[in-house]
Symmetry: C2
Subunit: 360 residues, 2 copies
């Protein structure tokens, strides 16, 4: 095997190497059946077992209550931005959104076509460098739900705990699902594109409380009703079989790591190493306010854009790849999802120490 | 390598073995870059090159005119059933549909929410065993388009030539795209799920004439406007990178086979072998009328359901898999898309001869 680089990309992102090896084997010859994984009919008993196992592992790892469905959909998290209000709202119905960055803004824009949307909080005026405390906003009692993005990849912010409000939560967890334990019962819908913490791009996991399935209007297109997919076990039409398989293998790996509680400890340890060097002097500046810091994405700046460019290039030259920040805020960003190895974090931290010493 | 079975499944389906081997290698280590294919950022220069090459090869193989966009979308062909009328129709606008089976019916149902739909032809009364001649229906001049399914997997029917009408054609080519040359200029939209002739499940290729992009109403969700994806080169949000990669490798393989004209000759040869034995006696009965026969899916019956079950089981025992017909019409079906090898067809034909001799 040639040397692996450390891939700090925000998504698609690093996956467990063992999963890549399993996928490589199964793509050519699935379980020695003489047929490739991606050639299997989605209705074959072999693939049905894959899909069932993937769902079971998600339920087990996240302790999903029995009155929730776990769906495998397509179209990315971006398709949830309109599917949620299309299924849950309608003329005169209200929902409350928290604006903590680009992905919230996109969700708000789509929702406004389907209901009466209140943006109860925004950190736009501070470059989205924070997420709110519960005391900073209110949710109207007639709001159908409170929408939030749990982790904001671009800015490196994260809700360290979820809002304690009376409203049902609807949450975009694309970039931190399965990184820590959750009380699912507080949520009506949780969704996440797979390509950060769960697998390759091409499948979106939706966890939805069953009573919400029937709220949808009759004339909504069949494929856009959650109920369609819930009733057919995500097999109403051909699902993205390869992506579902990979999610299952990642779940299997995650279970072997000790599950989400163990993963949270590892994630905290990894993030702490980077925040420690950021806080150790004036050379690096974290983008997020300390109480809003993300364990998944760490956005930071150097003294000048020129030094940032040099930093990114020198890092890449020693196999630390994908450290460029998002174009909307610039700077640098280290994305260290579940599968990102701590050895890579340590190598980055060593490099950061050396780079600041050499360039201060 | 263990022995490969011959996989007659209707989709996901057989892929070129060389593509499976390439995918297996690149998943672990993409072009020796020390990173897996499915870990690559979709905005990395490596993946952008993959997507560009995939699009170029489709354009080359299908001779796509410059005023058409080639898009890579998610949600399966089933999502096109509503996206097409959502983008092209609206209150008072008309479209004409040909009902040649389950997939047409689903498309008609979704379209009826968005416009005034005329079903100009239906073969429902003859178990969808045929597709129409041009003389069997008319298209109103104020129809925005004429919609058809070029190949009907369940019934084994196919349009041997496309309608010569004044109307712009919109065509579901999920099960025969790239199986023969096309005059794209007759079509406004061509779409196809990848999982039959192009790659794994999880991406839908849409070929759309550019002037149609601007017909969409403002309040349609962003992700459901073709224009959104056309303007961003199918990178408005994270695309299904693995599926796009595989389509590219299959296109590369197809080009090496001699392109779609060569593929048509091979497909005709393969289908003729099976139809010949069906027509050689009374034991096998083809479902489709002879002039409507498909080169891609061959649906047939045996004298009794019991013999059909025995046929399917004995075939599977010698590595001829997936021959069970669709539940809606029963019987047997051999799906022999581009990548299905002629050796497998010959083995099936030999088995069919033996089975009928043994059981007549």
């Amino acid at each position: 095997m040639p040397e692996r680089i450390y891939n700090f990309s925000p998504g698609p992102a690093t996956l467990p190497f063992s999963v890549l090896e399993e996928a490589a084997r199964d793509i050519v010859n699935f379980k020695d059946r003489g047929i490739g994984l991606i050639e299997l009919s989605h209705r074959s008993k072999e693939f049905m077992a894959v899909a069932d196992e993937t769902e079971s592992l998600i339920r087990e790892l996240l302790d999903v209550p029995a009155n929730y469905k776990v769906l495998f959909l397509q179209g990315g998290a971006s398709s949830q931005f309109f599917m949620i209000p299309m299924n849950l709202l309608g003329p005169g119905k209200k929902a409350t959104y928290l604006n903590t960055g680009v992905w919230s803004k996109k969700a708000i824009k789509e929702a406004e076509n389907f209901g009466d949307i209140t943006v109860a909080y925004s950190s736009a005026d501070v470059s989205f460098n924070r997420v709110p405390e519960d005391t900073e906003y209110t949710v109207s009692p007639d709001s159908e739900y409170l929408y939030l993005v749990s982790n904001n990849t671009i800015y490196g912010t994260q809700f360290s705990s979820f809002p304690q409000k009376d409203a049902m939560l609807v949450c975009d967890m694309s970039s931190d699902i399965l990184s820590r334990p959750l009380d699912i019962s507080k949520f009506g819908i949780i969704f996440a594109g797979a390509q950060k913490n769960m697998g390759p791009a091409g499948v979106t996991v939706v966890i939805i409380r069953e009573d919400l399935l029937d709220k949808v209007a009759e004339n909504v297109p069949t494929m856009l009703k959650y109920k369609t997919h819930a009733d057919k076990g995500s097999m109403f039409n051909t699902p993205p079989t390869f992506a579902i398989y990979c999610v299952g293998r990642v779940m299997h790996w995650l279970k072997n790591q000790g599950g989400v509680a163990a993963m949270q400890r590892i994630n905290e340890e990894k993030a702490a190493l980077i925040y420690k060097i950021i806080d150790s002097g004036d050379f690096y500046r974290g983008h997020a306010e300390k109480t809003s810091r993300s364990m998944m994405n760490i956005a930071f700046n150097l003294p000048t854009p020129e030094l940032e460019a040099q930093f990114i290039n020198e890092a890449a030259a020693i196999g630390l790849d994908g450290l460029k920040g998002h174009r909307s805020i610039g700077g640098c960003r280290a994305s260290i999802y579940n599968a990102f190895p701590i050895e890579g974090v340590k190598k980055l931290v060593d490099f950061m120490a050396r780079f600041s010493a050499d360039n201060s």
